[in-house]
Amino acid sequence: MSAPRQTLQLQVNGAEAEVRVGLHDSLLTVLRDQLQLTAAKRGCNQGVCGACTVVRDGYTVRACLSLAHGCTHADIETLEGLNQEASMQALQKAFAAESAFQCGFCAPGMLISAHALLLHNPSPDADQVRAAMSGNLCRCTGYAPIVVAVLQAAAHLRAQELAP
């Protein structure tokens, strides 16, 4: 009684990906097990911890709560697809400098959420950062260095915009 599988085309990180998917398979399962895009993590599988956060059509979503079949006409972006982006790199650099991670398990989700935040709001204040990222749990850092890192990256990106 295992669910029958169908071949789907997904748009992931700007490229077409062909996957064999059961009706109930989550986007998270498909990204990780079929496409080996393992940056998005399974922390709770219930949409609570945020470690699975990816971008769908420009908005952050829980990959663990998204059905793969429901993503056939969407643009999916994971951390792997954003690693070359200047704004992501600014965030990564700031996270490294501020020790905004320890075990690193929440980091991909944090970076996706932060990246999406800065896309919509290039100059958030600390409260806005905390609110926007409250859906990403971290057990190691205590959150303070994450907020500092996001603010630092935002400032750096704004300065670059202003520079000739």
Partner: protein, 943 residues
Amino acid sequence: MNTATKQFDALPEGAVGQSVTQLESDEKLTGQAQYIADMYRPGMLHGALLQSPHAHALIEGYDLSAAQALPGVRAIVTGMDLEPAHRMGAFIKDEPAMALDKVRYCGEIVAAVAADTEAIARQAARLIKVFYQVLPAALDPASALQEGAPLVHENTDSYIKVFDAGTQGNLCSRTSMREGDLESAWAQCDVVVEQVYHTPGQAHVSLEPCGALAEIDAAGRITLWSANQSVFRVQANVCEALGLPMTKLRCLTPRIGAGFGNKMEAHVQPVVVLLAMKARKPVKLILSREEDFETVRARHPATIRMKTGARRDGTLIARETELLLDGGAYGDDSPGVLGYALLMNCGPYNIAHVHAHGRVAYTHKMRFGAFRGFGVPQVTFASEQQIDAIARELDMDAFAIRRLNMKRDGDRWLGGQSIFSNGLAQCLDAVEQGSGWKHRPAQADTKAANSESRTGMGLAISAHISGLLATGAIVRMLEDGTLLLNTGAVDIGQGSNTALAQMCAQALQVQWTQRPQGALDTRQAMDHIQAQLDKEDGYTFHERGTVPTSGDTLSASYSAPYLGHATMEPMNCTAWLQDGKLSVWAPAQVPEAAREAAAKAAGLSVSQVDIHITLLGGGFGRRLEVDYVVLAAQVAMALPGQPVQLTWSREEDSGNDFFRPMHVAQLEASHDGLGQVQSLQIKSAGDSISPRWMERVLPAFAGPFDAPDKTDSEGLFDLPYGFAHQKMAHVATKVGIPVGFWRSVGHSHNAFFSESFIDELAAKAGTNPLAFRRQWLQDAPRHLAVLNLAAEKAQWGKTLPEGQAQGIALHQSFGSIVAQVARVSMENGTLRVHDVFCAIDCGTVVNPAIVAQQMEGSVVFALSAALWGGVDIVQGEVQQRNFHQHPVLGMAHAPQVHTYIVPSERTPTGVGEPGVPPLAPAVANAVFALNGQRLRSLPLKVA
């Protein structure tokens, strides 16, 4: 203090004290870090668990049929796959890999499935039927310890225990510590507080759930990756739970998404290994968040009855702590947590009279175990509130009472342990200052306090033992000078890898200085030696007759490269300093010199050094050196009492040899009007061995300048041929590449030069090489006899099969005369030596078999060198590091060696070395006979 850090490409000197960014930073922030769930192996199956729905029940049976029938299911394991005798446990070995015969907690692993996908595995697990007989459960520690409570373990007596924890019935462990005289101490107290505190269980909630991946190879060996906090605990737990020999299990650690103690002991590793063994395929099992909460472990719920007494002035006098920990169904780390909590229960205060005692109770619940703090959070919760309560009673400031009682330098901990580092006073000062304690809001009047928000400040201090669990580190320097740090400490995100690397970089401040010979190069050496040959006259070792004034000359230039020894056993030495005496075991050819060198390196007198010469795995002259002894002695001196064995790798051996020196030679013969040789002059050039060797090995005999070294010219200045005029000279150079004695020393290249040139002279005279030599050996009957014997046995002159040719050479060295005839052909463009006919006059033969063995060994040894021998040094680095770069003749291509001994009653002379020199020229002469190609340099490259 902020958390800002800096990334380095390479850790700087003085790395300790710098906020270095975590070494794993890039991989974690790009999402490339591999945690256990991110690992995939070819053919991998996915695992899923079935958990017990009951807290306590007998397992009467299983029905696996529906689960097994599900397509994609590859293996199912239950307690039926386990041996009852196999149990794990850090302190009490009470735990099977999964429930066997009974379940002891709701959530316990009862079965596991490996299937093609996780979904199939989970579905199959739900299809497994387990038949239970539900039993009453002990769910509360206090009642579990009463008579008649349901037993969690019936057979605690049969369990192996690491120490006597007093395990009995549902009492898992008990501990008691006393100091002073508590009973009478209460009487001295002006204030006593007593309270019972309860702390609940606590889940770790590491963001990464537990998981493992096991893979079995064709030999039945298992590689196990798992999220863990100690790879050694993984190995011990899995091997004990499954009865596996430790040699069958290799445990590896991927990146870990936090632990906090959850991953300290086993979780699913034993079950995953069992699945992999049954399925004969890799199996990965990652717990869901729910399973991680329900199956693994949590912090011990605790009931703490604490009583503290003090004098009016605030001095703490007495403390009694009674601790009851809920241990859950299995011992896990509970005895350790109990003992540690009691040891730390007073906190960092001097309290003279203490009784700390406690128990861990087995209950039918998930096991409780290690969690950040390891029992100290529970007792500190109680203790620090009691200190505050006493302070309030005495109207003392919270800081003041702590300062009055805190441990100071020289104080000892409960039980007597010395405290090595105590900055508590400074910590209190910093916190008092930084928090603004002196200006904190006053305590609220409880009646007035309503829905308005208020703030308050509270103080607590505590202590922890560093390195409660210990591990080690091994630092290795690899051949290219890079450093590898292996450690048992698992980095779960706390930065241990980074911190240890900083410590290592600081401690091993490696500084490289380029040796003067650092830029040595064999091509430059050749140019230099050749230039010196052209320019200098050198030292004349032998001259006879008068230089002819006229005549037709034939001249030729010959050369031979630097040559390594390549003994089968690389350089090594064992040394042991005990009570001021150094014992040395070395495969050395120079026992006394080795002993002296060891003594000098160690700073000891020779009488304090014992040397034992072991069997040698090949010497060939390399072990006339003492460098390998000096190094071992130096290491042994740094580790008194510790035997040290220093064995060189093949690369280190090849790269640190004392080479047979590179030589070039100019040979010139002049012929009279009848075409007869009237003069032979040989001038060679190359580094001298003996002065360099003296400097190294017998420094007392080394002079301020190099005396002429006969080894430079041996084999040239003592030719048996009766040419009227002979002059042999050598230009000693000093290139600086380390040179030493190589089997047969100067003869090894000089015979090639002279015996090849003799053949050139024979060819010019139009005489065959044998006849030519005979002609010039009229006054050397012994040489003639050896030559004739070899020629006879080789059937010199007989027609050989198509494509084969013979060459002959004759040479005296170390008192013995050897003649060899080599029979060669070309096979697929490669020179092949089929037979070597070897005649020797070595005086009286002591052991004919040994003579033949030495001839055979010498021939093959010399042939390897003749065909492939040669060392290239570029920028100070030896290029030929291992056998793929300087090949050695193998069995398939070794020639047949036929040895013939000239009977003699003379004094015995050498056999170890004399078989080497004639071989290269015999082969070169055979090549000339074969195809007319005259090879004048070694190694022989046949076109």
